[in-house]
Symmetry: C2
DNA sequence: TGCCTTGTTCAATGAATGTTGAACAATTGA
DNA sequence: TCAATTGTTCAACATTCATTGAACAAGGCA
């Protein structure tokens, strides 16, 4: 699966999840993943949100909180929302978060 | 209404709300208010969660984020969840948060 | 092999956070 | 008036957080 440490479903902690999302940059990352139809994205696709180093930091936070899955693929990392896990552990939560983010017009 | 500053409905910021809830103590405060049927409570009713000073700090955070309303009443402060406001601004959010908190058995 | 791309690690820094105890303010009630 | 109750404010402190740049790894590809 993945070489990087990810919390298991039963290890997800609500306060940690909320803290991870309590940052504009990380909230934007999650919002972008959702707006991208939950398709996997690479770090470089978020460069408009901050520096390379900063993104590495924020993505690690999101991964450690259990919000995203990070899967190495060649020199890239495929980042995807853990939508199913989050929906199971915190039903309705992710949807309510995403619903009140400003949507990008088509 | 109240002498303490509260953000207006249109001023509620999702990231700030999430950050405010990203702390075990504050999450417990909100959970307790919800478990108490959204009835107003006083600071002293949360003393089991921390020191007097600490609670004052955390309750200010919750108030500034727009999660609770604090209304002076004599020497006490009546603290209540801004349920209606939160439901309007972030539909489904509060419910999803509260649903996955462990409930106290009756 | 060598170079480019992608992303991480490290150390440093400044800002924000959470906790504590002492002192203070405001109201209530004897 | 005096004392008790309820909370806030303040300064101090240690911790964590977010950001930066330089250096480093690991693959891809010529």
């Amino acid at each position: 699966m993945s070489t990087l440490p990810h919390p298991r479903l039963d290890e997800l902690d609500l306060a940690q999840v909320l803290a991870a999302l309590g940052d504009e940059t990380r909230l934007a990352i999650v919002g972008t993943l959702a707006a991208n139809d939950d398709d996997a994205m690479t770090c470089s696709q978020f460069l408009h949100l901050g520096s390379k180093t900063g993104l590495s930091y924020h993505l690690a936070k999101l991964r450690e909180a259990g919000l995203v899955n990070v899967q190495p693929e060649g020199t890239k990392r495929l980042i995807s929302l853990r939508r199913a896990d989050l929906d199971e552990r915190f039903p309705g939560f992710l949807a309510s978060i995403i619903a009140c983010r400003p949507k990008k017009p088509a």
